[in-house]
Subunit: 230 residues, 2 copies
DNA sequence: TCAACATGTGACGGTTACGTGACAACTGTC
DNA sequence: GACAGTTGTCACGTAACCGTCACATGTTGA
């Protein structure tokens, strides 16, 4: 693939004119581009193409951009992409919510093409090394990113979004000790300032759910360091 | 507490009041801080101190922040630092120029201290992806920094944070004799005032754990000098 | 053999890090 | 608008951990 090194940008917007405009400009700037017109198409494109950067419109039919963002961040390939929320609103609360949901950056309409491209470039520089896909398994615990489902043995466990992502992070590298900071960065997203003790609380809740049907505690606390799976 | 592991932040601003304010807050947040009042000082500080994060004011006498940014990114130590442009202007063209010049982030005055610190932390995390350390082995003892685990033979041993770091230091250079002072420096951190006899106590505790499942004492006491592994 | 010094180690109080229940804010739903 | 679900923060209790001391033991040199 001659173009494999060229960064791939996924544009998600329901307005075709907007798609065409962005697509044209980004291609002119030297990126590869794929597009999606709604959340489902976006999720599909992410799974199939594994883009490096996702430009995600706030207003989408069916699933809101916010919800799509949340779902993307819960999938292995989506987690490794930088998500830039694009919004017509400029209220601070939106910005905060966008970043809290796991977006890596936020850009407000109207914006110039130059700014957009600069943002894309800046976020590309921050990309993490790509990780694997597929369902994760540690011991008798199984996490399926696609169906958003967690099971222990035969039991299906119900987790909130945050705990789901937390478990996902822990399971992705079994044994690895994550510091609270690293988990905040990974699970909650960057550019957000949350007390590290919050991680403890969520680990506690996660443990409670994982232990609800009996069994060993699969999460190891490493005093002075953080948490690890297995 | 201000040991070499504490991130170093370089603040570049021509207003002394601003320098003092930022310096105070960043120190309170646990960072080490150095300051520079213009581009030349900044370049010098970068070369000499190798900061992890640079807070770069847009408006500087002589060289503009933009130009300083460009020059910094052209030096070896500057390339390794995250540059956060600080600007009173909010025009998008500035943001674009800042990011395109190689700045890693951009913050617009007025900003809250919490936001600034969050940005600094976020950029630090981005900068230092978890260094996946290689497991250390001496004899039948194995220490894995990644999973924070110590085993002797098949037995998993439990160590407190300090003993873990102590063992790590000893194992990193098998045979090397460490003075108590050197161990204090390495394990406890610089600028800390602790009785050297404390090292003896921790070595004793470490020995006790290592010997708990039988086997030879892997730590050698060198009378008048210190301790060594193997 | 003895004094002087270096090291080993049990005990102890003080501190810190962690687990967790409670709570308020907020969301989406009916 | 009542309601259930989720989230981040706080306060409190507890157990682990830490640094120091005191004394025991070992080593050195005269």
């Amino acid at each position: 693939m001659a173009d494999a090194d060229t960064p791939l940008v996924l544009i998600v917007d329901d307005e075709v004119a907007q798609l065409a405009l962005l697509s044209y400009n980004l291609k002119a700037a030297g990126f590869r581009v794929v597009t999606a017109k709604d959340g489902d198409e976006a999720l599909l494109a992410v799974a199939e193409q594994g883009p490096d950067v996702i430009l995600l419109d706030w207003m989408l039919p069916r699933l809101s951009g916010l919800e799509v963002c949340r779902q993307l961040k819960a999938t292995p390939s989506g987690r490794d992409a930088a998500i830039i929320m694009v919004s017509a609103r400029s209220e601070e609360s939106d910005r905060v919510r966008g970043l809290e949901t796991g977006a890596d950056d936020y850009i407000v309409k109207p914006y110039s093409v130059a700014e957009l491209i600069a943002r894309v470039r800046a976020n590309l520089r921050r990309l993490r090394p790509t990780a694997t896909g597929q369902a994760l398994e540690v011991g008798d615990i199984r996490l399926d990113p696609d169906s958003h489902r967690v099971t222990r043995g035969e039991q299906v466990l119900h987790l909130g979004p945050t705990e789901f992502r937390l478990l996902g992070a822990l399971m992705e590298r079994p044994g690895k000790v994550w510091t609270r900071e690293a988990l905040l960065d990974r699970v909650w997203g960057r550019d957000i300032y949350i007390d590290t003790r919050t991680v403890d609380v969520h680990v506690g809740r996660l443990r409670k759910t994982l232990l609800s049907q009996g069994g060993e505690d699969p999460i190891r606390t490493v005093r002075g360091a953080g948490y690890a799976m297995g």
